[in-house]
Amino acid sequence: MNARALPWLPLAGVAVLAAYPWIGGEYSASLVARIMIYAIFALSLELLVGTTGLVCFGQAAFFGIGAYGAVLLASQELPSSLAWLLPASVGLAAVYALLMGALSLRTKGVYFIMVTLAFAQMAYYVIHDTPLGGGTDGIYLYVKPGLALGDTVLLDLERGSVFYGFTLACLVAVYAALAMLQRSRFGHALAGIKANEQRMRAAGFSTYPYKLAAFVLSGAIAGLAGFLFAVKDGFVNPELLSWHLSGSVLIMIILGGLGHLRGAVIGAFAYVLLEELFKSEAVFGSFARHWHLGLGLVIILSVALLPRGLVGLLDRRPA
């Protein structure tokens, strides 16, 4: 069975997701909304790692900056308008990606991984230690943003169902945009850079601007995911910039299958469900508080045994 011959898979997925709140009920719909946010987050990293071959271990920085932007820039009394709050938060994340990329992209291989991790830690410490971020306890978003045209309310994100729909719309938009990007000349150039950057330069591509552009776009999308996360929970804390989150999103795309957009989405689902499983006291009793152990073992085994991820399981090439 060749997964590429199933273009209906993403469309079916969207249909299931759209219908889910009526099927699954409010609590699990909230979980699915969280998974969709992580899926957007994972897609942002897939652009960097899977498409361009840039292994970034600092993606949480953009996620966290987008989240903190949503809270710090929002008005405390009235619903801020999505029309400016969303682009502003995403913009902050993109700016940090620009700075990080400009300094990191001169390095390669393992050093790139280390540098991106270090820069993400810098952002973490700024939020964690300085009054800018409200300290270790985090800060609350008292009034969720919305979209209004004059007196007519178009989107009220205080309502769970509206937020769910908005998140789903963002996921679909990001997925479609990345799919289009991958087919474009820009996307093909990124793929070439991943395959053999030397050859691309020999052909005449200035590869640095391409990589930087991918980095900034990736940071923006991760910032969007962070924005949605902040609006959903109404609360942000410095752990949103922790390198554990950077590691988690990296695992999501490997688990799902590197090099495929659907891998990022599948990986986000698989990872969150695995985490929920290992944290579940119903299954593991009091041992559930050591859920990192099970997760760590799964990570090791899945990287070792499933190099092409879950998508690789579906994508059996003909013999």
Binding site: R183, F186, A195, Q198, R199, A202, A203, G204, F205, S206
Partner: protein, 250 residues
């Protein structure tokens, strides 16, 4: 024969700490000629090609492409100005089709990175350049195959095709015959002979028979410096070259 000089290296020098890898080498590439550079291992041939292509900055000297001083230009910029390069080890994209390998190379001159709504597969200009390059090297019947599945000779041909797809005026070919059998070598040499028209070709090669068959001019390097640069017959008869390659003669 035209005497238009397309690429010129003037007193190119490259030092690594105390070691001089390339020592004041000057050469010219003229349109319609094949200029071979030969020498023993460690003679500095690879370093010289890297200086000309822009992958390595010179410690001294300059490079002129089509009359312009490009010494400070990075490789991509020189490539866009008409300087193509093939590598000793294959730098093809094994995961892409043969056609896409060339089309992507050609895209460098039709980059349009902002036009994200248009699929790359519809880019007429890069498709045409790729098709023409593949026909020239003789791979037109294998365009849909994954590049990794080609024979070694096929991959070397693809390497040349990718170079041609960027429509260069100067070709820097680093050991294009590496690892080839007799039949493949003949085909490649025939191809190089046809490419001579309109291009200036620099050929770094170890295969002496091949070099003497196809070169219009030969430069011999030893320990980073040029010891002879002349027509093939003159080089063959040169006492310095014989001493360098053959040692003392009885």
């Amino acid at each position: 024969m035209s005497t238009e000089v397309l690429l010129r290296g003037v007193d190119l020098t490259r030092r690594w700490g105390g070691l001089v890898a390339v020592d004041q080498v000057s050469l010219e590439l003229q349109r319609g000629t094949v200029h071979a550079v030969i020498g023993t291992n460690g003679a500095g041939k690879s370093t010289l090609i890297n200086l000309l292509s822009g992958e390595l900055p010179p410690s001294a000297g300059r490079v002129e492409l089509l009359g312009r001083d490009v010494t400070g230009w990075p490789q991509p910029r020189r490539a866009r100005a008409g300087l193509g390069r093939s590598y000793q080890r294959n730098t093809i994209f094994p995961g892409f089709s043969v056609f896409e390998n060339c089309r992507l190379s050609a895209q460098a001159r039709h980059a349009h990175p902002w036009a994200v709504w248009q699929p790359a597969a519809q880019c007429g200009a890069s498709r045409a350049a790729a098709q023409s390059a593949l026909e020239r090297v003789g791979l037109a019947d294998q365009i849909d195959q994954p590049a990794g599945s080609l024979s070694h000779g096929g991959k070397r041909q693809l390497e040349i095709a990718m170079c041609l797809a960027t429509e260069p005026q100067v070709l820097l070919l680093d050991e294009p015959l590496a690892g080839m059998g007799a039949e493949e070598t003949d085909r490649m040499l025939d191809l190089l002979a046809t490419l001579r028209d309109g291009h200036a070709i620099l050929l770094v090669e170890h295969d002496m028979d091949a070099v003497f068959r196809v070169a219009d001019r030969i430069t011999v390097m030893v320990n980073g410096a040029v010891i002879a640069s002349d027509a093939p017959d003159a080089v063959r008869r040169s006492p310095e070259v014989q001493a360098a390659y053959l040692g003392e003669q009885p």
